[in-house]
Symmetry: C2
Amino acid sequence: MKVAILGASGVVGREMLRTLERRSFPVDELVPLASPRSEGVSLPFAGGEVTVQAVSDDAFDGVDVALFSPGATVSRQWAPRAVEAGAVVVDNSSAFRMDPEVPLVIPEINGDALEGHRGIVANPNCTAITALMAVAPLHRLAGLRRMIVSSYQSVSGMGLKGIDELIEQVEKLSGNEQDLLAPDPTSLPAGEVFGRTIAYNVVPRAGSFDPDGWTTEETKLVEESRKILGLPKLDVAATVVRVPVIAGHSVSVLLELSRPVAVDEARGALRASKGIEIVDDPHSDSFPTPIDAAGRDEVLVGRIRQGDRPDSLMLFASGDNLRKGAALNAVQIAERLTL
Amino acid sequence: MKVAILGASGVVGREMLRTLERRSFPVDELVPLASPRSEGVSLPFAGGEVTVQAVSDDAFDGVDVALFSPGATVSRQWAPRAVEAGAVVVDNSSAFRMDPEVPLVIPEINGDALEGHRGIVANPNCTAITALMAVAPLHRLAGLRRMIVSSYQSVSGMGLKGIDELIEQVEKLSGNEQDLLAPDPTSLPAGEVFGRTIAYNVVPRAGSFDPDGWTTEETKLVEESRKILGLPKLDVAATVVRVPVIAGHSVSVLLELSRPVAVDEARGALRASKGIEIVDDPHSDSFPTPIDAAGRDEVLVGRIRQGDRPDSLMLFASGDNLRKGAALNAVQIAERLTL
C-alpha cells in the first residue's frame, strides 16, 4: 500500500511512522509530507530513512491511505485534494470531527461507524479518547447518563514545541525552585506555547475561550463524547488542565449510570474490553499515572470506586496522548479501512 | 502574648512564624518547639533569631496560644498537655478535626463555631480550605446540594521533604526528559515521599487507601466539607491528585445548587466575600494558577461558568497551601480567639 503522512516531522507524525512499523502495516511506499518549512528533514523508517517532501497538488497521486496530523486549517486545505486523488484520509485534527458526514471513530468503541465513510475519517481529541476508552465499557454495561471530567494533560499535546518549552523553563528555574514558595511574578518564565509558566505549575486552559467561559478543548470533549457514544444529549462537564508532564494525558472522571453498578461489576466490564489495562489495587498501592502510560498502547484505568451517590462511579485513567490518543488510533482506523 | 509553635522547623511552622510577623500578632514571647531531632535549629523571627527547643512536659507553661503543626500522633500526645497548661491550641493536623467537641474552622466561613471551644480548635485540611473558600459563598447564595472535586496538589503539602524529592528527581532526569516519551520503567526515579516518580508525572493518591478505594485525603475532603458547611449529608465526590508543583493547591469543582445561578450572580457573591480574589476574564486569558497563588493570602477563583445542567456551576481555584491552607488560617483563628 502507498501511505502518505502529512505532518510527518511533528511529534504525532513521527509516532505514526513508528506505529506503522511496529504493527507491520503493509507499506509498499511511504510518502512523508509536511509544510515546505520541514522539507528535507530525514526520519527513520523501516531500518532506513525517509525524507520529508513539501505537500503539493500531486503529492497524493496513487496514495491509498493518508494519515493527517497537521493543524485544522492545513487539514481543511489538503484532505479534499487527497480524497480526490483516491486516498482515504484519517485526519487527526479537529477540522472534520463534528461534520455529520465524517465518522469520528475509536475502533474499540464505534468501529462500525466507519461504514459508509466518504473518504475522510476523523480521529478524536486525545483526551476524549483517553476518557472514553474507560467510559464506553461502563456505558455498554449500564447506560451512561452524565460524565464529569477534569483532565491532567501533558505538554506533548502541543507538540515538540510544548516539550521544549517545559524543559527550557525547568532549566531556567534550576537552583531557585525554592523561590517558587513565594515567587516574584516578574521573574517567572513566560510561556509562548502555554501562555503561562508551565514548569512547576498547572494551567487550566487549553485552546481558546468561548463567550460562555468554556475552552475549545472542553467543548470538544463534550461534543466528541456525544458523537462517539451516540448519545447526542449526554450531559458532559469538562475542565481541561495542562500539567508539567512530558507525555501521557490523564482524566479524573465521575459517571452517572442508569442504575447502581458495583465496583467489581465495573471492573469485570473493563477487564473484558480491549485496549485498556486495569491498574487498580489499593492494597498494592497500584493506580495509573501518565508516566506509566507513556510509551504504551493501552489506556490504564484505576481508582475505580463508588462515587457520592448509588448511581455514580469514579475512575482515573492515563493514556499515551501520542499513541492511543493520536497515532495508534489513526493507524487502527487505517487497518479497519484497508485490511 | 506568649505563643508556642510546635513543629516550628517544618515548612508550615516556618510559615507560621512569618505569618505572625506579617500580621503583627502581639507576640511578647515566642516558644519554637519541635521534636528533639530539630532541637537547636535557628529560625528568623522579628528581625532576630529564635532557637528551636525540644517539646517537653513544661514547654507550654504560661503559653497563651499554641499553634500546632506536627503529625496527628504528636498532636494527640501534646495538645491535651498544652490545654492543661492553660493554652488554647490551634491544631493543623487531622487528629481532632472530626471530634464533635472540637470546632473545625475557616474564619471567613464558620468563625462562629469557635464559641464554646474547649481548648482545642482544628485547622482544616489544606485542599478543603482552598475548595470551600470558593464554594461557601455560593452555598450561602443558593444552597449547596453536591460538590464534585478533582485536586491538583503541590508537593509542599508533604513538607520540605516533598519539595526536595521533586527537585532531586527533576535533576536526575535532566538532559533525558525526551526519554519520558517512552520511559524505561526501571530507570525512573523512585519516590520515597510520594511512592512514585513525581517529576513530570501526576500521582492520583494522597494518604492511604481505605477498603472502598477512597484515600484518606479524599475522605477528609468529604467529612470536613460537611462539618464546616454544616451540611452533614452533603454529597461530595473527591479525587485527590499530587502534581509536580512546588507550592499552591488547586481544585476543579462542579457544584450543584438548589436553583440555577447565573455566572454573573455567582461572581457577585464571590466578589463580596473576604479572602478570595476573582481571577476570571476569558477575554484577557485570565484564570487562577497555583504559581500565581503561591506567596499570596487570597485564594484565587476563576473559570466560573455554567456546568452541564441548569443547576450546576463550575470553577477552578488555587490557594497557597502553606498560607491560607495552613499557617494563615491557623493565625486567623488565633486572632479571633484572643484579640
